[in-house]
Symmetry: C2
Subunit: 82 residues, 2 copies
Amino acid sequence: MRHVSAQLDIDTAILSKIERGERKATREQITKLADILELDRESLLIQYLSEKILYEIQDEDLGIQALKVAEKTIKYGVTKNK
Amino acid sequence: MRHVSAQLDIDTAILSKIERGERKATREQITKLADILELDRESLLIQYLSEKILYEIQDEDLGIQALKVAEKTIKYGVTKNK
DNA sequence: ATTAACTTGACAATAAATGTCAAATGTAAA
DNA sequence: TTTACATTTGACATTTATTGTCAAGTTAAT
């Protein structure tokens, strides 16, 4: 654990918490972890992103609908106006 | 504008920014806005949530895939372990 | 009992979101 | 055109969320 956390530039405390889901990892940490643990980077990232998404809509009745709208928006390449 | 912003408990400056997309509204502000402007609350909320989602995955190649994973997760009622 | 690995909780540091204010700009009617 | 009010802008303050450190507490193996 010391080895891994060192490579991640954090102390073991956080790593421990991340492992047990008490803390969220950083995007950067995710990719580093993928490398270190030789896991599939894409899968990990997808997992990570999907967790962030779910976090946003947790206990929202309209969550699913929002997801679908988001999907369509992406597909149709709608750009956000500044 | 003063009227509306007063009801939202913010000054006109923010309202102005929200209207022109420089600032994000709060969830609470969204629902109040729906009432004040007599818009459909659900639609506004869905719009609001979907924007938050899109924000999370902006310029992520794996965004769409993450969305799909998130959807499935919701459908299967997977609960997040504390 | 000693040691090293891991966990926990209280707190510090940083970063992001939200808000205020005051000054600048726009707009229309007198 | 000046006055009066509405809207916008930007610089900054406040609040809230996220990420991190540290020190003390467990656990497990020897």
